[in-house]
């Protein structure tokens, strides 16, 4: 079985983002970028499935600027077999929308014919939580979102999902799209020898036009602003003072 894992290059999750003063977006110049944390979990799961003998090949795919090849090299160093980079933007500030990403991925799926796509449940930059579901819709496949446990059984997958009230287990027919949640696994670190080996693994470079997909945004960004700042608070000296303040504020 072949697995495709889409990975996204995003601002590192520890970086405190700065909104540009002219309201045009978030400043990504000279900011540390990394693989989206959910995508690391997706790569890890794909590699574990291969190590368990259930998967033969893991193909990592990234869509965006040329520099996304660093993210693909990271996936290759973790253990992916080969990578496809789809260049669809010239500027790091251009975020290709989930609908366009899903269309490009759908075209790649038709070329590559995988049995499974494992993706992160959301990217920590646009917080959309949509690409996996959209890809599933475009392909007419089943979907299993927010997975915290994945078991492949013949022509189906039994997936436990993190839902609002607790956990839900569903059985989906393959081919399928699985989007992963935080608790699915603990991603491995790439070792130095594997980082060196990853440089020799195949990385194919394509463009959005190769797949005939229009990446023009459907949602025009009018402005980007700072969230409202909170009023500075006070430090109280004791539990009694805390209760007194809460009573004054009418909170208890």
């Amino acid at each position: 079985m072949k697995v495709i894992v889409p990975v996204k290059r995003v601002i590192d999750y520890n970086v405190k983002v700065r909104v540009k003063t002219d309201g045009t977006g978030v400043d990504l110049a000279n900011v540390k970028m990394s693989m989206n944390p959910f995508d690391e979990i997706a790569v890890e799961e794909a590699i574990r499935l291969r190590e368990a003998g259930k998967v033969e090949e893991v193909v990592a795919v990234s869509i965006g600027v040329k520099q996304a090849q660093e993210t693909l090299r990271t996936a290759l160093a973790m253990g992916a077999d080969r990578a496809i980079l789809v260049v669809a933007a010239d500027d790091v500030h251009t975020d290709i929308e989930p609908l366009a990403v899903a269309k490009i991925l759908a075209a790649i799926v038709k070329d590559e014919n995988p049995d499974l796509v494992i993706c992160g449940k959301q990217a920590i930059d646009n917080d959309m939580n949509a690409t996996g579901q959209m890809l599933s819709a475009l392909l007419g496949w089943s979907q299993a979102t927010f997975a915290s446990e994945v078991n492949l059984e013949g022509d189906s997958a039994v997936v436990t999902r993190e839902v609002d009230g607790g956990l839900q287990t569903i059985k989906v027919k393959t081919p399928t799209i699985i989007s992963v949640d935080l608790r699915l696994n603990e991603p491995r670190y790439a070792t130095l020898p594997n980082i060196m080996k990853a440089k020799k693994k195949p990385l194919e470079e394509k463009t959005a036009a190769d797949y005939g997909v229009d990446v023009a945004p459907r949602l025009t960004v009018v402005s980007t602003s700072e969230p409202e700042a909170r009023q500075a608070g006070i430090i109280v000296g004791s539990v009694d003072e805390l209760i007194e303040k809460l009573k004054e504020a009418g909170a208890v």
Partner: protein, 308 residues
């Protein structure tokens, strides 16, 4: 303009708070028709008809819609979509599962977690874990979106809309439900609670999490947790507050033993009053707290519980 709103229905019961908050947002866009779908949805439909501002309720009862699996539910919504300019749902895990599928089937973008409606085409939504607010204008024919319910007040329950029974769309039979593991809880539901008490890594163990629960019970509060507390097994995952868990905006949020990482703040920084109890005076949580107490939680929390 007409709005189709997917009601949040769980095991035949309407999640009134989430649905009523989404109705408030949707009434700004046009006449609201609420869709209640499930294996049993009649009681939920009758309840939804009482929400102020609802013009009509559609009730789709079918075994295929049981547990609202994404594929049949999305097909049902798409089959109705022609009559509506906007398709809206509260931003629950159910809706996040279904709505992007609906949008792609209609070849439109989805607008996730809307916090503000500027006009019928223009919306505000948080990005980068709530560290920036983006205003977007949609050029799509149909607007498909989820509503961040914490940002809207619940509509009242004085309405009397008509209820119409409809059939399900065909079942693509791509998936089936196996089982639910529902976390038992007598406390208020986390996303709609007026008071939330949350514990983090500082609580130290599952046993000591009882301290947090006692304080919560005293305040009639829901219990939340940071990712660290959930990953360490102190609390179940559906208690997680943050970018990847639940987003809450109660009147009072008490953070105990939580440092205040970006990802946690994303889920609670719109709370009206934030109280932080932490022994580390440098903890980032104190930068957003209205009232901070630098103290050992094992002394401060029992004292607070007793004196309240």
């Amino acid at each position: 303009m007409a709005v189709l709103l997917l009601a949040e229905v769980t095991d035949g019961a309407l999640a009134v708070d989430a649905t009523a908050k989404a109705v408030t947002a949707a009434t700004a866009l046009g006449d609201v028709t609420v869709l209640c779908a499930g294996a049993s949805a009649k009681a939920a439909a009758d309840e939804a008809a009482k929400i102020d501002g609802v013009a009509k309720v559609l009730c789709a009862e079918d075994a295929a819609l049981s547990h609202r699996l994404a594929e049949p539910t999305a097909d049902l919504i798409v089959s109705l979509a022609g009559d509506y300019s906007h398709i809206v749902a509260p931003g629950t895990t159910d809706a996040k599962n279904i709505m992007p599928r609906v949008a792609a089937l209609l070849d439109v973008m989805v607008i996730s977690e809307v916090t503000g409606i500027v006009d019928a085409d223009t919306y505000q939504r948080p990005i980068y874990a709530g560290n920036a607010i983006q205003t977007v204008k949609s050029g799509d024919a149909t607007k498909v979106m989820t509503i961040r319910t914490a940002g809207f007040d619940a509509a009242g329950m004085g309405g009397s809309a008509s209820v119409e029974t409809i059939g399900a769309a065909t079942d693509p039979a791509l998936s089936e439900w196996v089982e639910d593991k529902v976390a038992e809880s007598d406390r208020p539901e986390l996303t709609s609670a007026g008071v939330v008490v949350s514990g983090g890594r500082g609580v130290g163990s599952e046993e000591d999490f009882a301290l947090i629960e006692k304080l919560a019970d005293k305040l009639g509060a829901a219990v939340g947790a940071s990712r660290a507390a959930v990953d360490s097994g102190y609390a179940p995952n559906d208690w997680q507050v943050g970018q990847t868990g639940k987003v809450v905006a109660p009147d009072l949020y008490v953070a105990v033993g939580i440092s205040g990482a970006i990802q946690h703040l994303a889920g609670m920084k719109d709370s009206k009053i934030i109280v932080a109890i932490n022994k580390d005076e440098e903890a980032p949580i104190f930068q957003v707290a209205d009232f901070g107490l630098v103290a050992d939680l094992f002394e401060a929390v029992p004292e607070l519980t007793e004196k309240l």
